[in-house]
């Protein structure tokens, strides 16, 4: 194939490409909004209800209208321990303007006394949910600790950060991005 034949092939590709672009348009009933609950950016966050360390329960779907940070952690995981003060600091700064943080402890891999001691030591004030049988960890396919899910006001996962520790600036920028969006 020489260059002039390649040029005519490109011309044909351009014409066919235009046709293909028109026929593969997304119709209104075939929107690209993701359906289903999947632990992935762009999808609705899978719902869960868990008991809290201080008593009571938290249900994710009841937090719609707020920006939610779900942080999976254990007390023996060094990066989880290291990023906890940053999460606490961001929580204190933004909780009055619509941020909710759920510290989701994988209690099946931890122990409740260790969790309590750690929370006291760090002065954590946001709710700590206890995943006693790892059900939520499995639901969110958590394969590494810490893992953080940033969920917008509509309940859609917008960012997933696996591994850590996250710096305060990283957490703040992710939270601010979602808080800036209209309700």
């Amino acid at each position: 194939m020489n260059n002039s034949r390649f040029a005519s092939l490109l011309t044909w590709a351009l014409v066919l490409g235009m046709f293909w672009t028109v026929v593969s348009r997304v119709s209104p009933d075939q929107s690209q909004v993701q359906t289903g609950s999947v632990p992935k950016e762009g999808f609705t966050a899978p719902d869960f209800t868990l008991g809290l360390l201080d008593g009571g329960e938290v249900t994710l779907s009841e937090l719609q209208g707020k920006v939610v940070l779900v942080n999976f952690w254990t007390s023996w995981c060094p990066p989880c321990r290291k990023e906890m003060p940053a999460i606490e600091s961001v929580y204190r700064s933004y909780k009055d303007i619509g941020l909710v943080v759920i510290g989701l402890n994988l209690t099946a891999q931890d122990s409740k006394p260790d969790v309590s001691a750690f929370v006291q030591e760090m002065g954590v004030t946001f709710p700590i949910a206890l995943d006693i049988n790892n059900a939520v960890g499995n639901l969110y396919r958590v394969t590494a600790l810490p893992t953080s899910f940033f969920i917008d006001r509509k309940g859609v996962i917008r960012s997933v950060i696996v591994g850590g520790p996250m710096s305060e600036a990283v957490i703040q920028s992710k939270v601010e991005e979602l808080l800036r969006e209209d309700q």
Binding site: N3, A7, A13, G17, S24, G42, I161, V162, A169, V170
Partner: protein, 248 residues
């Protein structure tokens, strides 16, 4: 899908690893092609290196600029290894700009330099597809075709496989010079044009397309614009003499 691999205390991000492998092997192809084109391969490697470093730095600074108050009070966070805090579009733009400035200052022949980059970029495109396959990103639309893959709670078009397949085809066309280039720069134009055709075709099967006006997919519209530019370049740059035979 195989996004992470834990090795003791280290968490390897497999999609990122695929991109690094793509970069490393791609650079080998670039150096080989640079030598074939009688270009200074050290300078071509430096061009890729500066473009890459500049692009990553620009992607981080552009992201931080959106949250200026946050990063001004904690400037060391600019050095974070977190890939979630990058603005890729800004990185691509500035990376290209920095590479162009370097090429100009080093007096590298512009069109021949582009030709040297083509096989390496073609290989890197394969690894981008592998990276998407490992992460589950760039996923397909729900479908019931027999070759659908189960991903993100639905049967979907295996768009990552299509991506790898077309990138492999383009690589096997570009590397052994199946289409002769009769002037400098045309090998690169061939690579860009073939990649644009592949993107226009595959995008129709994506489930995560960015939609422009009236349901048109952004990638397809950009792909068509790139094809028009490639056609114009092909006609403008086409030489009358046999460039390939001259360089051996």
């Amino acid at each position: 899908m195989f996004p992470y691999l834990r090795l003791g205390p280290f968490l390897l991000q497999m999609p990122l690893l695929a991109l690094l492998v793509g970069l490393w092997i791609g650079l080998t192809f670039i150096e080989r092609e640079a030598a074939r084109l009688n270009l200074n391969k050290e300078k071509i490697s430096s061009l890729v290196f500066y473009g890459l470093i500049g692009g990553i730095a620009a992607a981080r600074i552009a992201y931080a600029a959106q949250y200026a108050s946050v990063y001004l009070s904690n400037p060391f966070s600019l050095l974070s290894l977190n890939t979630n805090t990058l603005l890729p579009e800004a990185g691509l733009l500035f990376g290209i700009l920095i590479a162009v400035i370097y090429a100009y200052r080093q007096k590298l022949p512009f069109r021949k330099t582009l030709d040297a980059l083509a096989p390496g970029l073609a290989f890197f495109m394969i690894m981008i597809g592998v990276s998407h396959l490992l992460s589950g990103n760039a996923y397909g639309a729900p479908t019931r075709v027999p070759w659908a893959v189960y991903l993100w709670s639905d049967y979907r078009q295996p768009t990552q496989i299509y991506e790898i397949f077309f990138a492999l085809v383009i690589f096997t066309i570009i590397l052994p010079h199946i289409i002769p280039a009769t002037a400098p720069g045309l090998r690169f134009v061939q690579f860009i044009a073939l990649s644009a055709i592949a993107r226009i075709f595959i995008e129709a099967f994506h489930g995560d397309s960015v939609i422009l006006f009236d349901g048109y997919r952004a990638v397809q519209v950009v792909g068509l614009a790139i094809l028009v530019v490639c056609l114009a370049l092909l006609r403008n740059w086409e030489g009358k003499d046999e460039y390939e035979s001259k360089i051996g």
